[in-house]
């Protein structure tokens, strides 16, 4: 489904990641075209976050090839890092700094010039309705407020590719709508490629150009929402998702990392 004349923003070829004996990502391949909104769906523990961590240089693959914006996240880390932004699944704010300071910090790390930085920070804090609390320590924020702040921060440097790992988890419909509107406008105006995971199928159906479904570390289907529905003969994306990945609830009592921790209590190496 590569659009004509457009190069791939992300390409992944038989990517593996093992944690001890457990294979979290089991030889996946896919491509995301530049300017596309791509949804990466899967049940808990399917390997979504592990894949994102490898794409964003935080984790080394066991083997396989990746390209992010033309750079190899393993050997050209810094160049790759310049080209993407990420909103993590779990918190990554400094609780002891204020909302404004967290934004400033990010802006400086990403080399955004002073004037532009201040402009964007105040615009984004407005967008996520945190302007009034911008000088409060993040420690005093509720879960939803922290989430909103993280999203605002991830958008601050207008990256070429934006990774969103369950960005709207635990947010009310108002905020979710607002955030997707903004993300879509960035996608249109700046041609930003969006790669996101979510458990809300309606969100994926509404927002994504293309969808890949991963289960047990393998990609079980990919295509547009329409194509997925057609091949699975389903009325909704949710139905085709359930048909593809089964109805049983996944046990995710420990992350791969926790499993490793059991083996090697204290020392990593």
């Amino acid at each position: 489904m590569k659009r004509a004349g457009q190069k791939a923003a992300i390409s992944v070829e038989s990517l593996f990641r093992k944690f001890g004996n457990f294979t979290a990502v089991d030889g996946i391949s896919f491509e995301v075209s530049s300017g596309e909104i791509f949804a990466f769906l899967g049940p808990n523990g399917a390997g979504k976050t592990t894949t994102i961590k490898m794409l964003t240089t935080l984790l080394h693959p066991t083997r396989g090839k990746m390209m992010v914006n033309g750079f190899d996240p393993v050997h050209e880390k810094d160049a790759a890092r310049h080209s993407f932004g990420i909103v993590f699944q779990d918190p990554s704010l400094d609780d002891e700094l204020t909302a404004q300071e967290n934004m400033e910090f990010h802006g400086v790390l990403y080399g955004i010039p002073n004037v532009l930085r201040r402009e964007r920070i105040s615009y984004l804090l407005d967008l996520v309705e945190l302007s009034e609390r911008k000088n409060s320590l993040v420690r005093t924020f509720s879960g939803g407020m922290k989430r909103r702040l993280e999203i605002a921060r991830g958008l601050l440097h207008h990256p070429k590719i934006l990774f969103l790992d369950e960005p709207t988890l635990g947010l009310d419909p108002q905020t979710r709508n607002k955030i997707w509107e903004y993300v879509k406008s960035l996608n249109k105006k700046e041609g930003m490629t969006i790669f996101f995971t979510t458990h809300y199928m309606d969100e994926a159906e509404k927002v994504a150009d293309r969808i890949a479904i991963i289960d047990n570390g393998k990609i079980v289907a990919q295509g547009t929402a329409g194509e997925l529905k057609k091949t699975t003969k389903s009325k909704s994306l949710e139905e085709s998702f359930l048909k593809l990945t089964g109805h049983h609830i996944r046990e995710e009592n420990s992350s791969p990392k926790d499993r490793m921790r059991l083996d090697r209590r204290l020392w990593r190496r």
Binding site: S92, L266, R269
Partner: protein
Amino acid sequence: MGILYVMWLRQLKRYWRSKPRMVGMLGLPLLFLVALGFGFGPIYQKAGGGDYIQFLAPGVTAMTILFAAMFSGIEVIWDRQFGFLKETLVAPVSRLQIMLGRTLGGATVAVIQGIIVLAISMLVGFRISDLILLPLALFFMFLIALLFTALGTAIASMLEDMQAFPLIMNFIIMPLFFLSGALFPLVGLPDAIMVIALFNPLSYGVDALHAMLGGISTFGIWIDFIVLGALTLAVFAAGSYLFEKIEI
């Protein structure tokens, strides 16, 4: 605003905003200063060592810096647990810069703590032998702080969580302090203790502070400077290698 500057500033802001931590970290050094200073003072004097506070204050200052610096370094583990580490690790900034900024910030905090303890020790009777040497004393304080912040960072880069913290405390920080010549002069000791003290980097830091603040030195300040300087570079190189390899 540079990257080093924001990393540095962050450490200082965190320090300034956590007053309980700031005060708490001063407790132990002050206890040593007062309890040992006044408790052993008379015996030390009888043995012909002179004023014990005069001997103890530079050592306790070095201890304060050691503790504060190691804790700053080990804060990497907290950052990992609270997630903030990820934010810095995916940023398009070399990890060397991140580590350098953190280390400079942590070291600055440690030196501030050291200065506070030094000032308090002057309140309880310590006299700096030569004020002209004070800037050099501050330089050595900063060097000690850099060395141990980098060491703390290097150790923390290899750890997943705070479980190993008692290990670090009891098998690294405490022995470094007790066997450094901070509490007793490194002369006429049993060979085994002397050998350990000679391999202890903090010994050279304590010796340098003795030289700068009290006017007495066992090794000579050039030796102190070379050992501390070389070790700081080596530990920093090892630390940045380990920090570079962190996976989340």
